[in-house]
């Protein structure tokens, strides 16, 4: 009875799979369009509209005519790469240790890796102020050596590094787990040095995954707001990064200036997306190749 009344739902399309009735599909696709266009696409266009509406020359002047904005761009381009570099070294070390060896506390370390994702960026910034600030636990000690971390650029690096800490390790761990240690074990048994092992076996195997992690880490590092907001001290022309500059111009009711910086950040986000799409394409092809290789090896043995 049920089967006959719902016979239309058994309609299949060209690939032979069952589908919802045509009108249901249309409604669902329409809703998807409304959500993505309204929540993501129109706001994206609006960033460019707001920045460019007063004219291109005003836009360029807003970006490069203001020394504080210029300095903020420079600051972001300094802080983010350092944070990404530190997290790349850490990510490689952590992924190697956690996927190639078994030891007590391994599970705890894996959980610790996720902690920065669970901590509000503001709290992350606060932790560094408590530790390294002038009234902090290590602040006076460091000051005696002439080191100031908070309200200066090293503090920005610390906060950014903390917030982006999991990105690369989280990308590499499942990848290296999936690849397995067989090739590396073979290389070691054939007498490869640790240096050769890393550059000739491990790195070529993980390079696309690593690049993917670096791209995501960089996007977050350049865009980080909450954590650097707390540690920067908002000294214009000294410790403002691009996102902080956006906020400051917004507070000063300088909307075109604020949107001009936002355009740069949006372009960064869009190039990140483009790179991700291209890389995902690459990674999928690589996965397929690996599967094919595995099945052909199985076939011969």
């Amino acid at each position: 009875m049920q089967g006959s009344t719902h016979h239309h739902s058994l309609r299949t399309d060209a690939t032979g799979m069952h589908q919802e009735p045509f009108w249901v599909r249309c409604v669902l696709i329409g809703m998807a369009y409304v959500i993505v266009l309204g929540l993501i696409f129109i706001p994206l266009i609006y960033v460019f509209y707001q920045a460019l509406a007063p004219g291109v020359s005003v836009f360029l002047d807003n970006l490069f005519g203001d020394p504080d904005t210029r300095h903020a761009i420079w600051m972001t381009l300094t802080v983010a790469p350092i944070a990404v570099l530190l997290n790349t070294i850490f990510g490689l070390a952590a992924a190697w240790t956690l996927t190639r060896f078994r030891f007590p506390g391994r599970g705890t370390l894996l959980t610790l890796l996720d902690v920065p994702f669970a901590i509000s960026p503001v709290v992350a910034g606060l932790m560094f102020v408590l530790l390294f600030g002038m009234q902090g636990y290590l602040g006076p000690f460091l000051r005696d050596y002439g080191i100031q971390l908070i309200f200066s650029w090293p503090g920005l690096v610390l906060a950014t590094t903390f917030v982006t800490l999991p990105f690369i390790a989280r990308e590499l761990i499942p990848l290296m787990q999936a690849i397995g240690p067989d090739e590396e074990l073979a290389a070691v048994s054939l007498g490869a040095s640790p240096w050769q092992l890393f550059w000739q076996i491990t790195l070529p195997n993980i390079r696309w995954g690593l690049l993917y992690g670096i791209i995501q880490c960089n996007a977050r590092a350049m865009g980080e707001f909450g954590a650097v907001f707390v540690v920067s001290g908002h000294i214009a022309g000294e410790t403002d990064t691009m996102p902080l500059r956006v906020e400051k111009l917004f507070q000063e009711y300088n909307n075109p200036g604020s949107f001009a910086v936002a355009v740069l950040l949006t372009l960064m986000a869009l190039s990140t997306l483009l790179a991700k799409v291209l890389l995902e394409h690459y990674l999928a092809a690589q996965d397929a190749a690996r599967l094919e290789e595995a099945s052909s090896v199985e076939g011969t043995t």
Partner: protein, 296 residues
Amino acid sequence: MEPSGPLSPSSVSLPAAARAPQRRWMRRSPLPGFGLGMGITLTYLTLLLLLPLGACVLKVTSLSPAEFLAAVWSYRARCAYFVTFQTSLIAAIVSATCGLLLAWVLERYQFFGRRFLDALIDLPFALPTAVSGLVFSALFVEQGWYGQFLIPLGIHGAYSKLGIVVVLTFVGLPFVVRTVQPVLESMERDTEEASSSLGASRWQTIRFVLFPALWPSVMTGFALSFARGLGEYGSVIFISGNIRYKTEIAPFLIVSRLEEFAYPEATAIALVLVVGSLLSLAAINWLERRSQRYAG
């Protein structure tokens, strides 16, 4: 029979050593780099994670229990937790609903613009939160593209809780889509076909076959976007207006306490926030283990 000495083939056979179950707490691996990798990992985590967290706890212990309670349970603080919790919860529910719909449509239907929509889903991950806050607050004011239609209807997006929910949904949506999508992709079409060839209606198939399998991943996405909402700062402060008792969120309260140099009080509120987000992290891990059991 060969004597099983240190040079016997069985003890040096590498794949066997790699595959053998790791019963003893540590088995010597022939691979190099354990000391270096472990050293870097532990030093890094100690400096960036454990020391700062320790400083946080130490700072809170400088407060007496009464002072601690006064800091974390003042009227202003309670309002801030409530706003944070309420908006994050609503935004996570909206994200879960819209995210499930988007994952389904993107994974199951072929239509014009599918790849374009799919690529756009990741934008909130890549877009700095300051930009999303800025653009949504501009969209919802009177002259903005959304505000000029909504404000005459009495809907105020800027400087209201509605605005906070909108930006948190923007930030949280990709978490749901990207956790549900792979599950939908890996699900065997066979089960659906079996269910319908056994006489189940499409709705029954969705209700009893698809939904139970998708549920854990939807919940994981929900928890991820909820946890993200609890801590979100950058996008919210632009649009909320930070009106005390009304639209002030807990992270903003921490920052204002910091700017008053009330470090212990700020830390106490931060601790409440950290405990809240660690609980949701624990929930995520638990859900992930559950969904893996479903998948396996």
